[in-house]
């Protein structure tokens, strides 16, 4: 699996990408199709554009922190 870094991607481009994946943004946070802020399923933190991590397979969007990643890998150990 290849990693695509979002570090140098302008926010407008990130938002366009999110829209292609069925999401949106208010410029700060990631929003779902109903306009609600997406929450990290493992920490319940609201996911921001500057800290988002997008896994394929049902498009899981997480906050970029070790706990969320470890929890995801426990659920999907074969992702890498």
């Amino acid at each position: 699996m290849e990693f695509v870094s979002l570090t140098k991607m302008p926010n407008e481009v990130k938002i366009n990408l999110l829209k292609k994946l069925g999401y949106d943004s208010d410029g700060v946070f990631v929003l779902d199709s109903a306009g609600r802020r997406v929450r990290d399923r493992y920490t319940d933190d609201e996911v921001s554009l500057s800290r988002m991590l997008i896994f394929p397979g049902s498009t899981v969007i997480l906050d970029n922190n070790p706990l969320s990643i470890a929890a995801y890998l426990e659920e999907y150990p074969d992702v890498f």
Binding site: E2, N16, L17, K20, N64, I69
Partner: protein, 231 residues
């Protein structure tokens, strides 16, 4: 002409972006791509999952939350040289798992967990018993682990340790301290051992990876009958 050129440049940028984004979206849907702000965090987690300590732990610990807490302990150890990231992760662990989960992560971070495995390997009859005792160490860690800080009241901590030993009769209780807390820790254990029978101490010392001039002290209070009966 300038307007046309700028329109052309803008359109060109938008076309490139649109095409590139469509390629990325297709790559994502085919599960070839993962989007991340930076790789450092993923690499940190992957690095801990390769460690022999994790390989050993995952063999005996099946509970998903315990497994995550163990990995967070390893990550905390790795982040000791980065105080802001360390605090951020500690806060996340506490938010999700509260004090019990944070204590488990600290037990792994400080090296207590792996030392306890070594202790149990020589005292258990089979793997079933080992699994049971390791899970008990983590889930009921207040019975088996005491952390001493420099500012702790020596008398109160002594009484706490004596009470725990009398109430639970654990095969081993680990009293952990580091740096300037070591002196008070030794005083506490010495005093505790004068008040309770059937236990002796064994000490291990490690260097602190984040501060090499600072040491970590693991004071194992072991049930004497186990020493006599151990293999």
């Amino acid at each position: 002409m300038i307007k046309a050129a700028s329109e052309g440049a803008t359109k060109g940028f938008l076309d490139w972006t649109e095409e590139k984004l469509s390629d990325l979206a297709r790559g994502f849907e085919s599960r070839d791509l993962l989007f991340i702000e930076d790789r450092q965090t993923i690499d940190l987690v992957k690095e801990q999952r390769k460690k022999p300590e994790w390989e050993l732990a995952k063999k005996y610990i099946r509970d998903r939350d315990l497994r995550i807490q163990i990995q967070m302990g390893l990550a905390l150890r790795r982040l000791e040289s980065n105080p802001p990231k360390l605090k951020e992760l500690r806060d996340k662990i506490y938010k999700k798992y509260q004090s019990p989960g944070l204590h488990i992560a600290e037990i792994v971070q400080t090296g207590i967990f792996v030392k306890y495995i070594g202790l149990l390997l020589g005292q258990t009859l089979d793997e079933t018993e080992l699994v049971e005792k390791l899970n008990a160490l983590l889930k009921e860690n207040e019975k088996y682990v005491v952390f001493i800080k420099t500012q702790d009241d020596a008398y109160r901590k002594t009484q706490e340790i004596v009470a725990r030993l009398r109430a639970n009769l654990p095969p081993a209780l680990v009293v952990f301290s580091s740096g300037t807390a070591i002196d008070v820790s030794l005083e506490i254990v010495k005093s505790a051992l004068t008040q309770i029978e059937g236990y002796h101490q064994e000490i291990q010392v490690d260097k602190d990876n984040s501060e090499p001039e600072r040491v970590k002290l693991y004071n194992f209070l072991l049930r004497t009958e186990l020493r006599q009966n151990s293999i």
